[in-house]
């Protein structure tokens, strides 16, 4: 455990991301540094336009940095070829987005198996692992259903199963509780938390402090800069919260 916590799975080093150029340039991130270790869930909070989603996108290799570096398991994403980067996205990182992104013409099991199949896994083995992953989030019985045959909460669980399938060491979640009711949203956070407790590194982007409270550390962004950060210490007297 100690060893797990010392080697960051994700590392952002002085990352700047500028969209556009000249007078229309938008500084989405300005010199952000962040490390996330295995077994650690970090929440990123901030108002709209503070750079939260950009941070998540560069962390997962979905967007590139303007300056600075993003390392996933010690590998600088900027040094990878397009196909190697795609492989990192499929194998190392799992994504859960607010708008689900399930493919409507595929069943739940097919959606979850897709990244494994794209990665060259056999259809049979990929499906087996997909059903395993669906079972892990408690929706095995939805395997044969299509997204439009599921509730929002069920779809989100399937999206999480897809993010967690295989041996993903990094889970990136952007407002994963979206428009879910508070209890279903909490179930989604419990799943994310459990996966992190089992050894993944997690980043959770949210504007709700109640959700961020599931994280070990909370980072506040404003105008692309980290303005504040709080950690939960297991040594803290939990009863103190009640005094």
């Amino acid at each position: 455990m100690t060893e797990m916590q010392t080697a960051p799975v994700l590392e952002l080093r002085d990352v700047t991301r500028i969209h556009g150029s000249g007078v229309t340039a938008v500084h989405a991130l300005r010199g952000v540094s962040l490390s996330v270790c295995a077994g650690e869930l970090v929440a990123v909070m901030g108002p709209s336009g503070s750079g939260k989603s950009t941070l998540l996108n560069v962390a997962g290799g979905l967007d590139s940095v303007t300056t600075g570096a993003v390392l996933v398991e010690g590998v600088d994403l900027a040094t990878l070829s397009a196909s190697d980067l795609a492989a990192v996205r499929r194998r190392a990182a799992g994504y859960v987005f607010q708008d689900l992104n399930l493919i409507p013409t595929l069943t739940a099991a097919e959606n979850v198996a897709l990244p494994l199949e794209l990665d060259g896994g056999s259809v049979r083995e990929s499906r087996r692992r997909a059903v395993e992953s669906l079972a892990a989030v408690g929706v095995e019985e939805l395997a044969a259903r299509y997204p439009d045959e599921m509730s929002g909460g069920q779809q989100q669980r399937v999206a999480i199963a897809r993010a967690l399938v295989g041996d993903r060491r990094l889970v990136l979640a952007d407002e994963p509780t979206g428009a879910l009711d508070s209890e279903t949203g909490e179930a989604v956070l419990r799943l994310l938390r459990r996966r992190v407790d089992e050894g993944a590194a997690g980043v959770l982007v949210t504007h709700e402090s109640r959700h961020a409270a599931w994280a070990d550390r909370v980072v506040f962004l404003r105008d692309g800069t980290v303005v504040d950060s709080t950690s939960y210490s297991v040594d803290a007297d939990a009863a103190g919260a009640l005094s």
Partner: protein, 193 residues
């Protein structure tokens, strides 16, 4: 706090002596509001004076067992039936602190907001940790209490975010207005509209 009604509701489930009531109250609420035994007996004595409970017997160990009366049952039923009224404007140290700070010269209000938000966030994390460790079935009553505390803390955090945005917007407006005397291009642009 509704200790009297809480104890009466527990007595409505069956006769009990003071220590049993104290233990049951704390178990249901997860020890969030610990009672001292003196407080329990004072409350029972007043309820007895008001005809809501009666002494039933003294057990072998000399403990007085209380039972609820018909009037006590009516008070419990009424308590469950009526909504709890919010205090009109309870004194709130944080609101007072920010209201004074924002009008005082040379106080960094943004820093006060950030410090407080860190504290509120830590409280939320601690409460969430307690929730994670609780048993969903065995600790249902305690989980409801925790949720209440979590939603309260969340409301404070949201209010602090709101204050921070409002302060940032005000600071932005001031920054635009200030150079207006020197005819800044942005101010001129604004007045041209």
């Amino acid at each position: 706090m509704a200790i009297r009604q809480g104890l009466l509701a527990l007595l409505d489930e069956g006769p009990a002596y003071g220590y049993q009531l104290k233990a049951a109250f704390e178990e249901r609420t997860g020890g969030t509001w610990p009672l001292n035994i003196g407080q329990v007996y004072t409350t029972l004595a007043r309820a007895e004076r008001d005809g809501l409970v009666a002494q039933l017997e003294t057990d072998d160990d000399g403990r007085v067992v209380y039972e609820i009366t018909a009037a006590g049952r009516r008070e419990v039923a009424q308590w469950f039936h009526e909504p709890v009224r919010r205090e009109a404007a309870p004194r709130d140290e944080l609101a007072i602190k920010l209201a004074v700070a924002v009008t005082a010269p040379d106080v960094d209000v943004t820093s006060i907001v950030q410090t407080q938000r860190g504290e509120t966030m830590r409280t939320l994390q601690q409460l969430t940790r307690l929730k994670r460790d609780a048993d969903e079935d065995a600790d249902l009553a305690w989980l409801l209490v925790l949720d209440r505390l979590i939603f309260d803390a969340e409301a404070e955090a949201r209010w602090l975010d709101h204050c921070e945005s409002r302060l940032a917007r005000k600071a932005g407006e001031k920054a635009v207005r200030r150079p207006a005397t020197g005819r800044s291009p942005r101010a001129a642009q604004g007045s041209a509209r």
